[in-house]
């Protein structure tokens, strides 16, 4: 097979290829070592990490929906100290870039996290201002341009690391938030996080999720994600990491054409643990078939 270049440089963050895994759907990486060659991944967005350990929500925490799923995990994680002491050493020597997804209740929380994570082995931070399950300010940060910007500014003041800001789709105009975070100093934008949804058990007359509402992800949300990537790609200059419903190579290619420079696979890992490898192979095959030599050649081709 003709070799094509899959290396992507996202404003200084150099990935061996554009396939990453979405925060919260791939653990810290090794959870999938029985199924994929972790060294072939471009990056892993690790589980959303907070200053203190978080227990998260009661169960049920997931519900299946047509071509999608709802989750209300509640950002369960062992906390940044445990991550640094016990998890990072286990993953830092893989070829994938380690991208730590950070979340907080206050702007200061994000800054403190950034300070603590400014270490060897952490390749970038993904600022999660958009988790719909976090009640204390998490949602508000992601739905207003000034609030989103304030978080990015605070993190940027704390570190020179590559910053990715992850945008929520639960807004009227995602481009205004994208421009705000770009101006505040983000190096990359990732989008989208989940759509807020609910499923009710018609026999028990109550929501299936203990938390009542949760984040909708999976193939169902792909059209919304594609549209938002397409819009934001035309509103900012920073590179984008596209995610939301990517389940095969064709989906990934749609995101590149919409303007994404890299992609992240989430829910599809649950359906097919080998999906990331299939996507990598499929992207390469498509480039060869269409006569491209480099993945970067197809970025934004659908934008005219």
């Amino acid at each position: 097979m003709t070799k094509v270049n899959l290396v992507v440089d996202l404003n200084g963050l150099k990935l061996q290829n554009p396939v990453t895994t979405a925060s919260g759907t791939f653990g810290f990486g090794p959870e999938y070592k029985n199924y994929v060659d972790l060294d072939r991944l471009g990056g892993v967005m690790v589980k959303g990490t907070t200053l203190e350990p978080k227990l998260g929500n009661p169960t049920p925490r997931i519900a299946e929906t047509p071509a999608g799923m709802l989750n209300a995990i509640g950002l369960q994680n062992p906390g940044v100290d445990h991550f640094l002491a016990r998890i990072l050493p286990l993953i830092k020597d893989y070829n994938f870039k380690t991208i730590v997804n950070i979340s907080g209740n206050t702007v200061e929380d994000y800054a403190k996290l950034a300070n603590k994570l400014n270490v060897d082995g952490v390749d970038a931070l993904e600022i999660n201002i958009s988790c719909p399950n976090v009640k204390k300010g998490g949602l508000a940060f992601g739905t207003q341009p000034e609030m989103a910007a304030s978080v990015v500014e605070a993190v940027r003041a704390e570190t020179d690391m590559t910053l990715i800001t992850k945008l929520s789709p639960n807004v009227a105009d995602i481009t205004s938030i994208a421009r705000a975070v770009e101006e505040a100093g983000t190096d990359i934008i990732s989008l989208i996080n989940t759509l807020l949804g609910m499923k009710i058990d018609i026999h028990r007359h109550e929501p299936i999720l203990a938390n009542k509402m949760g984040g909708l992800s999976g193939p169902a949300i792909k059209p919304v994600a594609i549209r938002m990537v397409y819009q934001v790609a035309q509103a900012v200059d920073v590179p984008l990491i596209g995610m939301g419903g990517i389940s095969n190579a064709e989906d990934a290619i749609e995101f590149f054409l919409a303007g994404a420079s890299a992609i992240s696979v989430g829910t599809a890992n649950f359906v097919n643990p080998e999906v990331t490898m299939e996507i990598l192979d499929g992207i390469e095959k498509y480039l060869v078939e269409k006569g491209y030599e480099d993945i970067n050649e197809i970025v934004g081709l659908a934008i005219k």
Binding site: G24, T25, F26, G27, E31, Y32, N34, Y35, K47, L55, G56, P58, T59, P60, R61, I62, A63, E64, T65, P66, A67, G68, M69, N71, I73, Q76, G218, P219, A220, S247, N248, T267, N269, F270, V271, N272, P273, E274
Partner: protein, 266 residues
């Protein structure tokens, strides 16, 4: 060590209304499988149909390492399990497995009680079979809505076990719930296994604590990934920390946990 395999169905039989027994040709899974583990299962989509989307966790009811087959017994209740029920001999299924921590058998124990309720009977059969193979004294207590739902009943009747059965409709054995059998006559039990409705397992736990019997429970939670990545499937387990408990992942840290450590909710 869990693998993802596409495997062929060798047999599929409706053993009672809406209850199916499926035998799957999966030597790689059978070779690795231990009693109490499960598989994370999906029908094979013809063309990446994404609805229904997720896999279904189903316990191993039988493991035949020589033949290289695994057997599951499941109830066709929702979309995924009903789809599985439409499959025929020769069709394929998409398996992740074997997954999880299964049942253990302590060296020092020699008198065992197994308490299964409803679909919870299915995961317990492998542990009973192993205990019988090892010439242990086993009392099997099973309960269900009706006789048809007393899974593996015929198998138990052919085994050297003490068997008691309860049915809610009185169609077989004692009318009522399986927990009626937990009495003083079993007080010399060394070890107990249970799987079924939480209300049942809670009663079993109380009885075990009162009688100082150690044991294990096989738990059920909605699952997404089956790898320990998503944190959907957590259950509350007692630990030594300031809260006295922590979440454990039912998929890879379970589904079998020490009975005394499980925190049941209402």
């Amino acid at each position: 060590m869990s693998k993802r395999v596409i495997a062929k169905i060798i047999s599929q039989e409706e053993i009672s209304p809406r209850h199916f027994k499926m035998v799957i040709d999966a030597p790689e899974v059978a070779k690795e499988a231990k009693i109490g583990q499960f598989i994370h299962l999906k029908w094979v989509a013809k063309l990446n149909e994404y609805d229904p989307l997720l896999r279904r966790p189903i316990s191993l009811n039988e493991i035949d390492k020589e033949a290289g087959t695994i057997t599951i017994i499941y109830r066709a209740i929702g979309r995924g399990t009903q789809l599985l029920a439409t499959l025929k001999v020769g069709d394929q299924v998409d398996i992740m497995g074997p997954i999880g921590m299964g049942f253990s058998i302590p060296e020092e124990a020699n008198k065992f009680v197994v308490v299964g309720g409803g679909m919870g009977i299915a995961p317990l059969y492998p542990v009973v079979k192993k205990l019988v193979d090892e010439d242990k004294e086993v009392t099997v207590l099973i309960g269900a809505e009706n006789k048809g739902q007393l899974l593996n009943l015929a198998d138990y009747e052919e085994m050297n076990v003490k068997l008691k059965a309860a049915t809610v409709d009185g169609s077989y054995g004692y009318q009522g719930f399986v927990t009626q059998f937990l009495d003083d006559t079993l007080a010399d039990t060394n070890y107990i296994y249970t799987c079924g409705p939480e209300v049942m397992m809670e009663v079993v736990q109380e009885w075990a604590l009162a009688n100082n019997v150690k044991g294990e429970a096989s738990l059920e939670e909605r699952m997404g990934c089956g790898t320990g990545a998503c944190l959907s499937c957590v259950c509350k387990i007692k630990v030594r920390n300031e809260s006295g408990w922590d979440y454990k992942k039912t998929c890879i840290q379970g589904p079998v946990f020490p009975l005394s450590e499980v925190i049941f909710n209402d």
